[in-house]
């Protein structure tokens, strides 16, 4: 005889638990956390390098970068002059909250205004894992095609902001910006879309402005006393 026993447990509860703890730590320390997801080669590291370089002029910034192997990205990002730590995942195709937590050991979060977490290049798996971030960016380069959001709707739907990268190549690859916007907003209505070139700096002002505004809103929300 079989008997049905009710369990009701979230499969990712361990990750969600750690992510919740991280989010609380980030909030207590007043650090605004941004994670980045995209397919490999969409320009996450170049975008992050540019962002860290510009943001460092006015804020205290740091980054964690996830990769299956090598610390090439961390080495590149260190050129921006900010503290950077590599998370090597081995064979794992995504970052999990516990890896972020471990990588932060020894860092004083109070000393930071912004923390960036670059996920492993992958448009599928990172979508399922909360890392405790305030904002999740999904990057899409103009060379990947305007229909990418329709092919990977889940990751676009779980992200908060879309960044279209390599805009300096848009003309050469006949990128249809309106079609890309439409596809992004089909899978995530109302999504904020920013268009940038890490090479020429186009759109970076708008992006930095978005970041400081988002941080200010978060800080204001936190200072509202809750009953």
């Amino acid at each position: 005889m079989n008997r049905l026993v009710e369990v009701r447990q979230n499969v990712l509860k361990q990750n969600d638990l750690v992510a919740r703890e991280l989010r609380q730590r980030f909030q207590n320390a007043g650090v605004f956390v941004v994670s980045l997801v995209s397919s490999p080669g969409s320009g996450k590291t170049a975008f992050l390098e540019k962002t860290l370089t510009l943001l460092r002029q006015n804020f205290r910034v740091a980054a964690l970068v996830g990769d299956l192997a090598t610390d090439n990205d961390a080495v590149r990002l260190k050129r921006a002059g900010a503290p950077v730590k590599q998370i090597t995942t081995g064979t794992l195709c995504h970052l999990e909250a516990a890896m972020v937590s471990k990588a932060l050991e020894g860092w004083d979060l109070q000393e930071l205004d912004f923390l960036f977490i670059e996920n492993v290049g992958n448009l599928v798996c990172p979508g399922s894992y909360d890392l405790g971030e305030d904002v999740r960016l999904v990057l899409l380069s103009v060379t990947e095609g305007e229909d990418k959001p329709l092919k990977y709707p889940t990751i676009f739907n779980t992200a908060d902001v879309a960044i279209v990268t390599k805009m300096d190549l848009a003309h050469a690859v006949e990128f249809d910006a309106a079609a890309a916007d439409e596809n992004i907003r089909r899978v995530r209505p109302g999504m904020e879309i920013l268009k940038v070139s890490s090479k020429t700096g186009v759109g970076m002002d708008e992006w930095l402005h978005f970041l400081s505004a988002a941080k200010a809103i978060r800080t204001a929300q936190q200072s509202v006393p809750s009953c």
Binding site: N2, Q9, N10, V124, C125, S128, L150, N157, V187
Partner: protein, 120 residues
Amino acid sequence: MHELSIAMSIVEMAEEESDRRGGARVSAVHLKLGRLSGVVKDALLASYEMACEGTRLEGSRLAIREIPIVAHCAVCNQPRVVESLQWFVCPECGSPVSKVLEGREMEVVALEIEEVEACP
């Protein structure tokens, strides 16, 4: 392909639950899987079989109930089922919908446990 690590978590959870019940044999695990969970059903089923190998769960069945995406339509002021992952619109009025209410679930809801005959 993160289905294998997810399958391993499911097996681990079922084993813990079985331990709590004195090592009862689990013949099936019932899972709720949202269409927006980022997990592919067939890949999870194949991974589950692998994850069970050499464990107490070997030979058990993973019963998956797929959960549709339900979002709040601000125009109708009603929860609505989103039919296409490629197009988040209200099926009634055609307005874009962004507030997802259901469809991200990945939850073990129940286990089928084999009852051991009591000794006479």
